[in-house]
């Protein structure tokens, strides 16, 4: 195994690690108390009391505190460290990467970035791994900052749900974002990230040009971030039902965008960045939840630091504390609460609010229903995307931005086609330390699979045409065209053209059924005070299993985790769901009657309730054993958050900068861009400017 040979690998001894770079982090509390000297050896540097901190009871001091180690946080940390600051990242999870780690690594930047230029010239990557020709024609990647800025502030674009992804974006922030895209791409490449050929554009990244490559590694004999190689075991591709501690989601074939033997996904982005950060000397305090900002006055003065609490994650089966894949640079701190002084400032990069039902209920009250999680539930744990950064900012007077944009992006919430697991957004197989939090990988049946069952609500009633239930509005992205809601495709697209949203056009291309809203509707099981809509279930028989080839076994489903049930009668199935599912608050009293009615409709060839016969064949639910798989509504990512200026400084309700406070990524609002491109560039901008602050 290559990992053993690698000095940064898990479980390597201290002797094989290179000398610790000077961190500049002091550990006042521990050293002053003279306690835990052995543990304290993990942190270099003598205590450095500072005048500014006098009278404050700080446990640690550092130039820059970054709250959150995902795409925005890791980028910001490396950038600030490169510019001379000492940096401590606190993250609530046991490992780094946030949701970048489970992403598809489809990193949409542009503005004439180095990868666009490379593909335009038809060149290979610096390593020479890429042997396939560019996917896009040179004209399709011929981009510039002005065009990118125009695209991401285009008022005229609507999607197939008649939502406007660019209209409400913050202008000042977007200008700075566009200007920093090319430099950020280069920065990532300088930190071991390797990009495939450009293949279109990711949602929210504009529609005039192709701007998004994936990140890749090459399968090889060793896992080596510097060389850009990974073993098949570490990549999770050696066995179809195993993944690894390095890669929570099995990596995907990238041969058509690189060369044979290339694999891609967020692992090829998050792990190289993390490796580089650790190698350079960034410090990390994991299992540590960012709670509050410390400001000189409640609503005035500089931000001085943060408070953060211990948030250990233990394996639900063994009870053991989880450990990060790499350990170098980790600060092992287990006190309940610590105060960390940030001499230059704090960067809030702690994610969005999709995992906080009370917070997200502001935007869609029905999604206060806690049965439905955000994506990455297992990977991130209960504090993932819990709005902590936004709430902490609000407590010191920060303004908010783009809160209504939660409702105007297709991935915000949708019904997953992965059934039988609570963690339904992504795949993850046994072999990753957090698999036990989900207990089953689920079965991804695709849209096509929804014709094989009836979908019922918490009282056992059908509520929508199953075939139309999972359909999502499409995402605006290059190459555009009617499927993306645009009257023109590819280079024929015209930004800021009134014809992009004339009402005749919208009537023609509108393409959305509100299955999700029906799934969240109140029903007779919705009780005060919360009126929760409850879980939803796919009900089918053994014939459906035979028709589809769905594998009703571990690790795909798990009869013990509350998300899959099997029984010989419908009545027994209903009883099992009631007894075994954590959010099934009422009995599915109508299920037997619903199944009988459905079977009658099948015999008649017509479904008077939802007109299913128009969309797909109807199959009876009649051959035991009968099966029930959970169907999940996922609120994936959120788009409202802290308001920042072009330097990623948080501003208050008077439009004034809150000194010493920066933010990036999903904690920031006013940018309806899905995914990574937003976070990395914010991190780059924030890291650049915070390093210039006086200590």
């Amino acid at each position: 195994m290559g990992r053993k040979a690698d000095p940064h690998a898990k479980n390597t001894t201290v002797e094989t690690e290179p000398a610790e770079p000077a961190s500049g982090i002091s550990r006042r509390g521990f050293v002053a108390a003279g306690a835990a000297a052995g543990v304290g050896a993990a942190v270099a540097g003598a205590p450095q009391p500072t005048a500014a901190a006098e009278g404050e009871d700080w446990d640690y001091e550092v130039d820059v505190v970054v709250a959150g180690g995902g795409c925005a946080g890791l980028t910001a940390a490396i950038r600030a460290h490169d510019l001379g600051a000492s940096v401590l990242v606190v993250d609530q999870n046991y490992d780094l990467g946030g949701r970048m780690l489970h992403s598809g690594s489809f990193l949409s930047l542009g503005g004439g970035d180095p990868v666009q230029m490379r593909d335009m010239a038809g060149e290979a990557d610096p390593d020479g791994y890429i042997t396939v020709p560019p996917v896009e024609d040179p004209a399709e990647v011929d981009d510039n900052v002005e065009l990118l800025f125009t695209d991401v502030t285009d008022w005229s674009i609507v999607d197939t749900k008649a939502q406007s992804p660019y209209r409400y974006n913050e202008r000042d922030m977007m200008r700075s974002w566009a200007e920093n895209c090319p430099a950020t791409r280069q920065f990532l490449m300088d930190n071991y990230v390797r990009f495939t050929r450009v293949n279109g554009t990711h949602g929210g990244g504009g529609v005039s040009r192709a701007r998004a490559p994936y990140c890749f590694l090459m399968l090889g004999d060793v896992t080596d971030m510097r060389a850009g190689t990974i073993t098949a075991e570490d990549a999770g591709v050696a066995h179809p039902e195993r993944t690894s501690a390095l890669a929570p989601v099995q990596m995907q074939d990238a041969s058509s965008f690189v060369a044979p033997g290339a694999v891609r996904n967020g692992v090829a982005l998050a792990r190289p960045l993390e490796f580089s950060a650790r190698e350079k000397g960034v410090k990390f305090m994991l299992h540590r939840h960012f709670d509050e900002l410390v400001r000189e006055e409640p609503f005035a003065g500089r931000v001085l630091g943060v408070t953060a609490s211990y948030s250990p994650r233990h394996d639900p089966k063994t009870g053991e504390l989880l450990h990060s894949y790499w350990q170098r640079g980790n600060v092992d701190e287990r006190r309940e609460r610590v105060r960390i002084r940030a001499r230059k400032g704090v960067i809030v990069a702690s994610g969005g609010h999709a995992g906080n039902p009370e917070f997200r209920g502001m935007f869609y009250p029905a999604l206060r229903e806690p049965a439905f999680p955000t994506s990455g539930y297992a990977l991130q744990g209960p504090h993932g995307q819990d709005a902590s950064g936004i709430i902490a900012g609000m407590k010191v007077g920060a303004n908010l931005s783009g809160m209504q944009q939660n409702l105007s992006y297709p991935t915000t919430f949708h019904i997953s086609t992965r059934l039988g697991t609570r963690d339904a957004y992504t795949t993850m197989m046994p072999g990753h330390p957090t698999f036990n939090f989900r207990g089953s990988a689920g079965i991804n049946v695709g849209n096509a699979g929804f014709e094989e069952f009836i979908a019922v609500n918490q009282v056992g009633r059908r509520f929508f045409n199953e075939v139309r239930l999972p359909l999502r509005p499409s995402i605006n992205r290059y190459p555009g065209g009617e499927a993306a809601g645009l009257p023109n495709a590819e280079l024929d697209h015209v930004p800021n053209d009134w014809r992009n949203c004339r009402h005749e056009w919208i009537r023609q291309m509108y393409d959305y059924d509100h299955g999700l809203d029906a799934a969240l509707a109140m029903n007779e099981g919705s009780e005060p005070p919360n009126y929760y809509s409850g879980p939803i279930w796919a009900i089918f028989d053994q014939d459906a299993v035979e028709r589809t080839g769905w594998e009703m076994r571990f690790p795909y489903v798990n009869e013990d985790n509350g998300y899959y049930f099997r029984a010989d009668t419908i009545e027994e199935l209903a009883n099992k769901i009631r007894a075994g599912h954590p959010f099934q608050r009422v009995p599915l009293v109508h299920l037997p009657e619903t199944v009988a009615t459905w079977n009658g409709y099948v015999a008649d060839g017509a479904d008077p309730d939802f007109e299913r016969e128009a969309d797909a064949p109807m199959n009876p639910v009649s051959t035991p054993p009968f099966h029930a798989l959970s169907i999940m509504v996922i609120w994936h990512d959120s788009y409202g958050g802290l308001r920042v200026n072009g330097r990623c400084q948080v501003v208050d309700l008077h439009g004034q900068v809150i000194a010493g406070l920066y933010a990036g990524g999903e904690a920031v609002g006013g940018f309806n861009k899905h995914g990574l491109g937003k976070g990395h560039v914010h991190g780059y901008i924030a890291g650049t400017h915070i390093a210039e602050e006086m200590s």
Binding site: G104, F106, V135, N199, G200, H202, G203, P240, Q252, D253, S255, S256, P260, N265, S375, T411, S416, T417, R418, Y425, T426, T427, N444, V445, G446, N447, A448, G449, E451, P470, R472, S474, I475, R547, T548, G549, A616, P617, H674, G675
Partner: protein, 247 residues
């Protein structure tokens, strides 16, 4: 429609009172044939899919009857041959596409088509996908190509579940629903569609051999049995293999 052609059509209708009814009948059966054989590439409304699949709506070439009869029977470019279509069926199709979507190239008679088909060969017997039309080693090769080229969107289980959850779920490429969608079409249509239109991000990047291997893999996952020989890339031969939903 030119004035001269419109005049001839009027004369014909005047001379034969039943001609209008025949034309309507032909066009109706042509519509069904079109949906089954042609709409995959040329679109339900004849709009085509630029740049590979030409639009039929507003296409001047349709006036050239010998050319379109020859194309249907023998194939051309990415268009597969349809050797099993009879003169009646070709006449119906030609009438439908020449009189639909604003086209005014006029109806076609069975006699006209029969005359044009006379010079073309009669063809070999038809098989279905259940007769062992691909090799098992070929399907294994196809799996490798599929995983690299297709699985991202169509899913590693060929069920349309995209590997990347940000992506839309796509059409399944195997099993019940796939077979239902393609039921009655020839393997040549599937083969030509695949090599011309896929992968979406980079159409035309597959070799013909890879396309055939991928189709073989799709058939194997769908339960169709392997046979003694690989599926070739000869579209005349592929055109004589029908995708039948059931054995």
């Amino acid at each position: 429609m030119t004035l001269r052609r419109a005049g001839i059509l009027c004369l014909a209708l005047a001379a034969n009172p039943s001609a209008g009814a025949d034309e309507a009948e032909l066009a109706a059966s042509g519509a069904m044939l079109f949906e089954r054989n042609c709409s995959v590439c040329h679109g339900d409304a004849g709009g085509g899919q630029a740049p590979v699949f030409p639009a039929l709506a507003g296409n001047d070439v349709l006036a050239d009857l010998p050319l379109i009869v020859g194309n249907m029977h023998l194939g051309v470019g990415y268009m597969p041959p349809f050797p099993e279509l009879s003169a009646e069926e070709i006449a119906a199709l030609a009438t439908y596409i020449r009189t639909s979507w604003g086209n005014a190239a006029g109806a076609v008679t069975v006699a006209e088509v029969s005359l044009l088909l006379e010079g073309l060969d009669a063809g070999a017997p038809t098989r279905t996908i259940w007769d062992g039309v691909y090799g098992s080693a070929q399907a294994a090769r196809g799996r490798l190509a599929y995983d690299g080229q297709c699985a991202l969107c169509h899913g590693r289980r060929l069920n349309g579940a995209a590997e990347d959850p940000d992506m839309q779920s796509g059409p399944p490429l195997a099993r019940v629903k796939f077979l239902r969608e393609w039921d009655g079409r020839s393997l040549a249509v599937l083969f030509d569609y695949t090599r011309a239109a896929m992968p979406l991000a980079n159409p035309g990047s597959l070799s013909d051999g890879q396309s055939a291997d991928i189709v073989a893999y799709m058939l194997s996952v769908s339960g169709a049995p392997p046979g003694p020989e690989d599926m070739g890339t000869d579209r005349e031969a592929l055109a004589r293999i029908t995708i039948a939903a059931e054995e």
